[in-house]
């Protein structure tokens, strides 16, 4: 088997006294989508932030294409240019148009010419159903549109992997579908992804593997049919049971 795109080996992270990640091992192969599920506070977001070097890990290693990226000597900026990150709250730049939001990485991180970046930005917005919205500020877009701009922005740098942090959690229910469609589109295009999500139906459909996080550890890992339908651990069963009660499955 070829080298994994992403590999986490014994990653730990604490915020002060609070141990958020307590030894995470995870391998994400090329074109694979891994769904991270688990209760709020189980460490899903922290795990993604650590991979994108937005947080510094305490112990262990994260490898990107077989290369350790969590070594302090590694240039974090160069690593982030090879990854894409989509935030729960979109985090679009409010003082820029949708097009400039998508172009900014190309233009300033990847050194593309303005015309090139603009052409690519327009094409990406069109791909995610946002043709005609190029000049709109984020304020003038719906939540679903904003998140699709954010996905286009993360995808613009042709990343090796996309990290999606609960990308539908801030959306009104009727807007969830359009954002999930955008992620489905990326999966079909062969994008390698780590997806923190509360949408179990979506995880079952898109993910090749599901990882259940609990108390900073991956308690269960396997294909969706196994983890979501025949969970082995009591904690997983309880978590899925709670979602079922809340009508979220």
């Amino acid at each position: 088997m070829s080298v994994a795109v992403l590999e986490l080996r014994g990653v730990t992270k604490a915020f002060g006294e609070r141990q958020v990640l307590q030894g995470i091992d995870l391998t994400v192969a090329e074109h694979e989508a891994v769904a991270l599920i688990g209760a709020s506070g189980s460490g899903k977001s922290t795990l993604l932030r650590c991979v994108d070097l937005l947080e510094e890990i305490d112990d262990g290693d994260v490898l990107l294409d077989g290369e350790v990226i969590t070594d302090p000597a590694v240039d974090a900026v160069a690593v982030r240019r090879r990854l894409g990150y989509v935030f729960q709250a979109y985090n679009l730049f409010p003082h820029m148009s949708a097009l400039r939001n998508v172009m900014i990485g190309e233009r300033y991180a990847h050194g593309a010419k303005k015309a090139e970046a603009e052409e690519r930005g327009r094409a990406l917005l069109a791909r995610f159903g946002l043709a005609g919205r190029e000049d709109d500020r984020p304020d003038n877009l719906s939540g679903g549109e904003q998140q699709r701009v954010a996905i286009a922005r993360a995808f613009a740098g042709s990343p090796r992997a996309l990290l999606l942090d609960e990308v539908t959690s801030a959306l009104d229910p009727e807007l969830v579908g359009e954002v999930l469609a955008a992620v489905r589109d990326l999966k079909a295009a062969g994008m390698t992804m780590v997806i923190a999500t509360h949408e179990m139906g979506f995880a079952r459909e898109v993910a090749d593997q599901v990882a259940f996080l609990h108390g900073g550890r991956i308690l269960e890992l396997g294909p969706p049919s196994q983890v979501l339908e025949h969970p082995q651990r009591e904690e997983t069963r309880r978590f899925l049971g709670r979602l079922l009660e809340a009508g979220r499955i």
């Binding site: 937005l54 900026v77 240019r81 894409g84 935030f87 730049f93 990485g105 300033y108 991180a109 993360a154």
Partner: protein, 280 residues
């Protein structure tokens, strides 16, 4: 059936509109009347006061006004020049101070300490005292020969005083930008410096544009303080006139000139406040 319903509704509507118009008319009438009473009352109080003939002669003398105005205006150009120069310097220096203070790189620790002390000291000393100390202290050191002009020394004092204030305004603006913006900028592959320049600063500075302008209204007035070390700006020129002719009208002329600059600036600040409280 439906017809009577629509007629009834439109009658109600006409009634409401008529009531609204009545209210508006009454409001305008009350505003006009109260203005006449207050302003007229004040005017009457001043104009009928026992000292008014003398005050009119010494403060509002048209002949003195036209005599002094050209020279006061000349002096005022110095105010404007100093103001523009100091403002430009303050905008840049204050931004550098703010950026040093919010940075957390260990290499900048000594600089951070220095800027903190600088901001505390420059804000803590009355501007007039700072003008005095620098205006007389620097020449006494005899480091530069010949000594810098009083105008330059005054401008330096004002720059020091205002850089401290303005850097705190900048800092508040930068800190008001959500941390997620910086994260997102890093996530698209920007360096920390690019993230500040392209994402954080444009948002932070826009948010504090009204208080920044407000500080510059204050600066425009404080330029008059440099007169205590000699430069003949509008206030000083007017004062000299007053001393020679025992007439205060030139000071009124100077006051009007300051107003001619600060009032438009104040209106710009108001407009930036906007109904939504945001600036694009």
């Amino acid at each position: 059936m439906t017809e009577t319903a629509t007629i009834a509704a439109s009658e109600r509507r006409l009634e409401r509109e008529a009531a609204k118009r009545r209210r508006a008319r009454r409001g305008a009438a009350i505003a006009a009347l109260s203005s006449v009473i207050v302003i007229g009352g004040l005017a009457a109080l001043i104009l009928t006061s026992p000292g008014w003939p003398e005050v009119r002669e010494t403060f509002f003398n048209w002949g003195e006004f036209t005599n002094a105005f050209p020279e006061v205006l000349d002096g005022f150009w110095l105010d404007v020049k100093v103001f523009l120069g100091v403002e430009a310097a303050v905008l840049v220096i204050a931004l550098v101070l703010a950026l040093v203070r919010i940075s957390n790189s260990p290499g900048l620790f000594p600089l951070r300490l220095l800027t903190t002390v600088f901001v505390d000291v420059s804000r803590g000393i009355p501007t007039v005292l700072l003008v005095y100390l620098i205006g007389f202290g620097i020449p006494a050191l005899q480091i530069v020969q010949p000594a810098p002009s009083p105008v330059l020394l005054g401008a330096i004092a004002l720059t020091i005083s205002y850089s401290g204030y303005v850097s705190e305004v900048y800092r508040a603006g930068i800190r008001s930008v959500h941390r997620g913006q910086h994260d997102a900028a890093l996530a698209v592959g920007l360096t920390h410096f690019q993230a500040m320049r392209l994402v954080v600063l444009p948002q932070g500075i826009r948010r504090v544009a009204p208080p920044l302008l407000n500080d510059f209204v204050a600066l425009q007035k404080d330029v008059a303080l440099i007169s205590i070390i000699g430069p003949q700006e509008a206030f000083r020129v007017a004062q000299i006139y007053q001393g020679e002719n025992f007439n205060f009208t030139p000071l009124i002329a100077a006051a009007l000139l300051y107003l001619a600059v600060t009032v438009p600036m104040a209106r710009i600040v108001d407009r930036m406040g906007g109904p939504e409280g945001t600036v694009r």
